[in-house]
Amino acid sequence: MEKRVTFSKWRIGILFAVPQLLLIFTFFYWPAGQAVYWSLTLQQPWGGGNIWVGLDNFRSILSNADYWNSITASLVFAGISTGLAMFIALVLAALTDRQLAGSWLYRVVLIWPYGIAAPALALAFRFILAPEAGFMAVVNHFWPGVWDPGLDGADAMASIIVAFSWKYVGYNFIFFLAAFQAIPRSLIEAAAMDGSGVIRRFWDIQLPLITPTIFFLLVINITESFQDSFGIVDIMTAGGPANATNLMVYKIYSDGFKGLDYSGAAAQSIILMILIVALTIVQFRFIERRVHYR
């Protein structure tokens, strides 16, 4: 869509965009280009110039078992937490949309978790899921040693998944509810007149009509699970135990700023960028075609 009526002094028009362009050049394109450059060279952290090494950084990363472990952990985390957060939110939104008495309460409250900073909720969950105090301690009391996120990798992964899903249930809920409410009431009523029950209407009318939202949330949840997980991992597990929760962004941070391996971190950033861009393209190209639009 374009405007029919515009202003003629276009030189002034460009001036309006200059602040934004300066910002994205300095803080977006330059760093992104820099990341590509670093990933192809070997940078000494204390100066002394860069040596061109071609794809060596990528080769050494991709042959590193720790890195593959980090990718696997990220994918497990993304898969389970996305599935969990979306499923719970879908059920709650569908039920809230039935507009029984008191549904305003759920509309208000279920959104709250999304406002909370990831590290803050991580600390809360670290306490709630702590093996020696809090609530999982009760479980350990009856079956000693069953739950210990500090020693058992699977338990640690479960903890960060719970914390992340808790936050994103609220987020997904907002979008699902908006999508359900956009469905014309007359459609539902017509189906009811034809004798279909609540569950049948959900499967045959509501669910197909909200597929664009489902698919949109799928991509957002996966990309967010790569980024927003940093605070949760840093506070709850610090990547441990034994790298079980060393997700990709956390590894970039610890390699780059703690290990001072700028070139390795840059190469990892590039791989993560490619992954996210690929996801975005998949979003537009493949899944969107099979989605039902009105």
Binding site: Q20, W112, I188, I276
Partner: protein, 304 residues
């Protein structure tokens, strides 16, 4: 509610109530844990009746993590980011929608691409840029030979350097540098009737006048929505402030959380940790509760 379904209604209420508990329980547990003393908070199971030490713990957490100045810093940064986004996005969208100039589409795509790569994935090089923001320009001068030219002519060696580590601008500017709000405004500007623009032009209003007196007042709702969402987003930032504020006087509230984690081997002071968590959770929660309408609207409009 089209028909009577008593059994299904019962289960609907049941499941929704379970969801309600799932969402609220962590807040309640944090608040209760913050009211216990050291012994009670480590009881198994912890008593769900509030203890009596709430204010003592809040005070201890406040002084231990020095939260006063940290919260102030968080506010400054979150307001800065929100204001920056609201203003800069409006300007850019105005330029893209209301003017025709060469390279406009290229610019549109340059801005659009920034949506794809969040700060977290390009964190290392962005850090280097913030350490010296003029580095890109220095490099351009070097590459184009301008700095060589200047040195030849005036004998002055060009050495641009401006570090923004440990400063508010260093915290704020990189977070403003994405297109999140631009497309919100663009969508809205496209719905503003052309007749309005024509009428304004006929009355002799220039671009600037039209923007300030007509377009901005019309976008008040969008500004509130974008401002709310960006405030929360900036308040909740963690990785970026953690990196660039090494100096305590610029530390944020959220990055202070790490100091509250009970040490292994030390006393498990979960009551203090939870009191601190509660303080840090509260401002965004208040914003969500009070600004719910704008928050929901902003969320749906910025992402779609």
């Amino acid at each position: 509610m089209v028909e009577r379904t008593p059994i299904l209604n019962f289960f609907t209420h049941l499941i929704l109530f379970a969801g309600f508990v799932f969402c609220v329980a962590p807040f309640v547990i944090v608040a209760i844990a913050a009211s216990h003393n050291l012994k009670d908070v480590n009881d198994v199971p912890m008593s769900l009746l509030p203890g009596s030490d709430f204010w003592v713990n809040i005070k201890t957490a406040w002084t231990t993590a020095d939260l006063g100045p940290k919260l102030l810093n968080s506010f400054i940064m979150a307001f800065g980011v929100a204001a920056g986004k609201v203003i800069i996005s409006a300007l850019t969208a105005f330029s893209i929608v209301y003017f025709r100039y060469p390279g406009r589409m290229l610019m549109f795509w340059l801005i659009f691409i920034t949506l794809m790569l969040p700060l977290e994935v390009r964190i290392v090089p962005t850090y280097a840029v913030v350490a010296n923001v003029l580095e890109p320009y220095q490099a351009i001068l070097d590459l184009t030979g301008i700095s060589w030219l200047i040195q030849k002519i005036s004998g002055v060696q060009v050495q641009l350097s401006l570090g923004l580590l440990n400063s508010y601008s260093g915290l704020i500017l990189p977070l403003v540098a994405t297109a999140t709000g631009t497309f919100l405004y663009r969508q809205f500007f496209l719905t503003v009737p052309d007749e309005l623009t024509e009428a304004a032009r006929m009355d002799g209003a220039g671009a600037m006048r039209f923007f300030v007196d007509i377009l901005l007042p019309l976008s008040r709702n969008n500004m509130a929505a974008l401002g709310t969402i960006m405030f929360l987003w900036a308040w909740n930032q963690y990785l970026w402030p953690l990196l660039i504020t090494t100096d305590q006087s610029h530390a944020m509230a959220v990055t202070e959380l790490k100091q509250l984690i009970p040490n292994v081997g030390g006393a498990p002071e979960w009551h203090i940790a939870m009191a601190g968590t509660l303080i840090i959770m509260l401002p965004p929660l208040v914003v969500v509760v009070l600004m719910q309408r704008w928050f929901v609207r902003g969320l749906i409009a910025t992402e779609k």
